[in-house]
Symmetry: C2
């Protein structure tokens, strides 16, 4: 899934080039490319599918030359994750009804790719043998209020994989007290938004819980892979309900499992989370840019993307981000207002 707009990462992330297409860490690889790299050896490039907005087609093609262009599915408008997943599921079903899928955001960070691959392979084996819906739950390391949580029934591991448990409930982003309580208990996990299931399972689940949505993509079976596909999608996709896969399926279905895991995951949803994750200097500054000089500056995130000279003196706990024609200077503790800033 590569259709997000990454509005909390403005101005690095813009509607023209959102977060998943950006090399936020200065490593030479964008989030999308890192996501692709993470599946090397697990999924062959010709089996990688990217669902994105029509306007990002060229970016995806350029950033992932290994992926066949016909595997880049283009949404004419944004309709949240359920229509996106329904589209790619029926599209893959039309090619291979026995396919086994991993659904993943393309703008997250995973630091322990070896463990990630072990978990993914283990989960794929599980969904190949069962009709389970599996979510990856991340062991919480702090009472994060920016994530949803999954409550697991740790008393009841699945029969075929002892690392996988039934889900008791999905919980929305909690307040701090609730999050602290979740972390204190050991059966709550961050909802990573990574799902594993067979095409059969997800198609059946959508048919049961989202019959309208399902009929839209079911009816398009004759055009998938033909030169009529895009026109049909452009016509029908906008009629889909704007709904997340969590609401559409997860919170309704029975056979939902969680695979608690720990592979150094972050959604890097905000500048603050980047500051938490990324390498900082001795003064707590995370600095990415070709020519940045800091004086009496600490706990700042400083990102520039151009060949630009930046001198900063006397800042504590600020974001300084510059991209193209835009400069943001903002206290880190006020970053929830970035969306507001970017719109004015």
């Amino acid at each position: 899934m590569a259709g997000g707009v990454g509005s909390r990462f403005w101005p690095m992330s813009t509607p023209e080039c959102p977060k998943q297409f950006i090399d936020v860490f200065g490593t030479g690889r964008t989030f999308l490319q890192m996501t692709f790299d993470r599946f090397k050896g697990v999924v062959a490039p010709e089996n990688v599918w990217v669902v994105t907005s029509a306007k990002y087609f060229d970016i995806v093609k350029t950033q992932l030359p290994e992926v066949p262009v016909e595997n880049i599915l283009l949404e004419p408008c944004r309709r949240n994750t359920a229509p996106c997943i329904a589209y790619v599921s029926w599209r893959i079903k039309s090619k291979n009804p026995n396919a086994n899928l991993v659904i993943t955001p393309s703008d997250h960070l995973v630091t322990d790719v070896i463990e990630f691959q072990r978990v993914i392979n283990s989960a794929l084996k599980f969904t190949a043998e069962t009709d389970a819906i599996v979510t990856l739950g991340m062991h919480p390391t702090r009472p994060e209020t920016g994530y949803g949580y999954i409550q697991a029934d740790l008393q009841e591991p699945s029969l075929v994989n002892k690392e996988i448990f039934r889900v008791d409930s999905f919980r929305e982003k909690p307040d701090l007290a609730t999050a602290t309580e979740y972390v204190r208990q050991n059966n709550f996990f961050w909802n990573s938004g990574i799902f594993i299931w067979s095409v059969k399972t997800i198609v059946n689940a959508l048919r049961v819980y989202q019959p309208e949505l399902s009929s839209i993509f079911e009816n398009l079976l004759p055009v998938y892979g033909t030169d009529k596909e895009q026109a049909a999608i452009d016509e029908k996709f906008p009629t889909c309900e704007n709904i997340s896969i969590d609401y559409a399926v997860m919170e309704k279905a029975d056979e939902i499992f969680v695979f608690p895991a720990d592979f150094g995951w972050s959604d890097v949803g905000t500048w603050g989370s980047l500051h938490t994750i990324a390498k900082t200097d001795k003064d707590g500054n995370n600095v990415i840019g070709p020519d940045i000089s800091l004086y009496e500056t600490k706990n700042c995130v400083v990102h520039t993307t151009e060949e630009r000279k930046v001198v900063i003196q006397g800042l504590d706990n600020y974001i300084v981000a510059e991209k193209g024609n835009t400069l943001l200077i903002c206290r880190l503790d006020q970053e929830q207002r970035i969306k507001e800033f970017s719109c004015n």
Copy 2:
């Protein structure tokens, strides 16, 4: 005089385009152009001379199309004000030995141009009738430690102009206690660096007090106005002593006068002085740029020169200045370190 490098105004002012060539106030006119404008009706454009660095020739020609190009004198290197003034004085003498001169920096601000012209005309009348050296002294409005001061003998006005007084002494930039004492007394004035004298007077003064310097420009009399002038200047100018006109003449000569005046003058030498002078919003911000949004920001100077979107949240007492490929963020009270920042 338009050869300065304006290092305290970095990054707006750069060696490639220093302060005098910049439209700091966003009015559409640079300091150099405002200086030219200030003399309209007093000095005909063909009698305006600009002494600048060779590398700024194109800028001056572009910014002052009214000034004949042969009136743009080019220094091959920087040698402070005395060689600059000596050069232009002999050069003008070669054309008109009876000329009456105003010497002025080109990077200062004057807000009351009517009063400025009255003072200049009055001073020019005085120097046309006498062999006096006249400096303009500004009534101090605060104990500024960034300016030199002129101590006047207010008991002894000149015979022909009751607004003009003999100078008792020139004082270097004082400390705050001394500056406060100067302001408390009423006979100390800021040294504006604006001088009025006849060509005869300055040439004679230079001959007496700076014989070496004088002989250099005296010897070039045969080449002034010829196609050999620049080559001769390029050869001889670097041999001049690096010395200010204050040291070279003012502090040595006898017939020195000061014209105390009050026409809204500032040398706008620093970001802080710009902040003091320029229009601020209700939060004390001085903002120049096409697209700047401020949130919870006060007492800041924000200057951008490009078509750039800038969002600033939560800054108090900072300079944010952006030009070309350079961004500076610096506490206003640390601006004396800008020269250090710009060199690293």
